[in-house]
Amino acid sequence: MVENRPLLKLFTHAVLILGVLFLCFPVWMSLVASTHGPGALSKSPIPLWFGDQAWENYSQLIFGGMSEAGGVPVGMMMLNSLIMALGITIGKIAVSILAAYAIVYFRFPFRMGFFWMIFVTLMLPVEVRILPTFDVVTKLGLLNSYGGLIVPLIASATATFLFRQFFLTVPDELVEAARIDRAGPMRFFWDILLPLSRTNIAALFIILFIYGWNQYLWPLLVTTDESLYTVVMGIQRMVNSGEQLPVWHYIMGTAMLALIPPVIVVVAMQNLFVKGLVESEK
């Protein structure tokens, strides 16, 4: 469609720019607030430009203990979040790609039964099964450990289903060619299926990493030890710090820090992600 109507162009651009501003304004506010002293956000007018406390605020956040969040430095919480998010992401991808491989490429009794059992767990997110899961984790002695944070969140019906759908589009002749080329089941998986799933894995990695990073309820339940707190929990604790006024400049700073890893993941993987969407390698 070739159109040349300057007014329309102006209008559409105005709408787009407005949308961008609308989305970015809260982020801007947090960024600005995190560079001011404690009182700045309680006074009117709220500052819209950087203050002079950035260095002090962020170094206190990252290395110093935050009494409002249980005396744990945010750096530590970030590390905990990172370990949890990576554990969940890698675990989910590993488990679901293997499950999908088994379901698509092997004939075993009750194959479809197992598939539907996995599928049905879509109806059982953490929130629904939280009490029995907590019970199991307690009995396994996994409270206050990375294992307790990660393992119950690893099974993923969605990812299994996605990989299954992808595997079903891989031509049978490729499997047959590999069989003639003397590739056993594991060889085929490593040498052919896994490289072909590269873009799918990248897309899932982005989605699952953000899912893991944003976990709140489950970490809140299984950790009582401050050294295992995650950053999302930390923000929440700072907001509800009892009698005192909320320390908005620290809260905003923590929020800014908590944004960084998901942004890095998205930026680093978006190339592969988009590639996976636009080009089929089959």
Binding site: P171, E173, L174, E176, A177, A178, R179, I180, D181, R182, A183, R187, D191, I192, P195, L196, R198, E281, K282
Partner: protein
């Protein structure tokens, strides 16, 4: 290099669907055998059973005298070329060719040597570091052949390898394939639904129909002495003209079911009064007024192919279609009458009910 023996081979799919039954084929060392037939006739199933991609329900399969029914595809010392190439999309051409060899545990130098040789044979030297998606269809199929060659298998299997290519490329690759067979001297088993491909490539053709072998023979055997009406119809283009009718008391004249009759000088080799199907190839009919086997064609339309002309028309009262192939460029008006004769040695006679050959 090896012989391949198929003994009363059969395949039944779940639900009692019989894909092939009682297949007996003995393939000599270094022979190029083409399995041909219409789609669904079981030719691909047989090839896949030879490859080991499909389990064998009944019968035995011997490669170089050894029974291999229960061997994995990788252990049968075969290589296969697929219709849609089945190249590994994430590997380079070199990687595609090397993959099977690496799995066999061949030393690096040997892999390099074989790839270099195959690339030279197939003129792929400039493309070794490209990915399959950067290649054209013909190049991809050459890579697939390269992947087969480097493995130096006893038997090459081809499953309609040229069907995805355009006509010109198909002819070119067909010639290359024939040359490759001559150079390697290996046993080739080739599946196609294209009778021209079968005729031009094969040392021997196995023509299949509905899961069974109709005829095994050299291309000329099948052309000159088709064992059944099905074979006669399948081989040759344009198709053989076949008329059904009843012989007279002397077996000299055939009364066509579509009306009219054809008279011959000598009795036909069939019981007088029998119901038969008479076949004549379009290229064996010649314009002429005098002589036995005379018939009168009413032209409906003509196809000008340059080298020859195919005249389509009807016999008798217009219910028996007939095609004639004439040399060179010939003009005929629609509705015109064209008298034809056919010499008796070009007549094929089939039983009207069973379709088996009578003469």
């Amino acid at each position: 290099m090896a012989t391949l023996e198929i003994k009363s081979l059969g395949k039944t799919y779940p639900g009692n669907v019989v894909a092939a039954e009682g297949i007996d084929i003995a393939i000599e060392d270094g022979e190029l055998v083409v399995l041909v037939g219409p789609s669904g006739c079981g030719k691909s199933t047989i090839l896949r059973m030879i490859a080991g991609l499909e389990t064998i329900t009944t019968g035995d399969l011997f490669i170089a005298g050894k029974r291999v029914n229960d061997h994995e595809p990788g252990e049968r010392d075969i290589a296969m070329v697929f219709q849609n190439y089945a190249l590994y999309p994430h590997m380079t051409v070199r990687g595609n060719m090397a993959y099977g060899l690496r799995n066999e545990g061949q030393p690096k130098a040997e892999i390099e040597r074989r790839i270099a040789e195959a690339a030279r044979t197939l003129r792929l030297e400039d493309y070794l570091d490209r990915k399959p998606r950067q290649l054209s269809g013909g190049q991809r199929q050459r890579v697939a052949m390269g992947r087969a060659i480097v493995r130096e298998p006893r038997i090459f299997l081809f499953d309609e390898p040229l069907s995805n290519l355009d006509a010109k490329l198909r002819t070119q690759l067909r010639a290359e394939l024939k040359a490759l067979h001559r150079r390697l001297g290996a046993t080739f088993v080739y599946v196609t639904h294209d009778q021209v491909e079968a005729m031009s490539l094969a040392d021997r053709i196995v023509l299949m129909n509905a899961g069974q072998v109709e005829q095994i023979g050299t291309p000329l055997d099948l052309y000159l002495r088709p064992a059944s009406r099905f074979v006669a119809d399948f081989i040759g283009s344009p198709n053989m003209n076949v008329f059904e009718g009843v012989l007279d008391g002397e077996a000299r004249a055939l009364t066509l079911s579509g009306g009219g009759s054809i008279r011959f000088a000598d009795p036909l080799p069939a019981a007088p009064g029998a119901r038969v199907a008479l076949g004549i190839r379009p290229e064996h009919l010649h314009p002429g007024d005098e002589g036995p086997g005379r018939m009168e064609l009413t032209v409906t339309f003509i196809e000008q192919l340059g080298a020859d002309t195919v005249v389509h028309g009807t016999l008798g009262n217009g219910r028996e279609p007939l095609a004639v192939r004439l040399d060179g460029v010939q003009m005929r008006e629609a509705g015109a009458s064209l008298p034809l004769i056919c010499s008796p040695e070009h007549i094929h006679l089939f039983d009207a009910d069973t379709g088996r050959r009578l003469n």
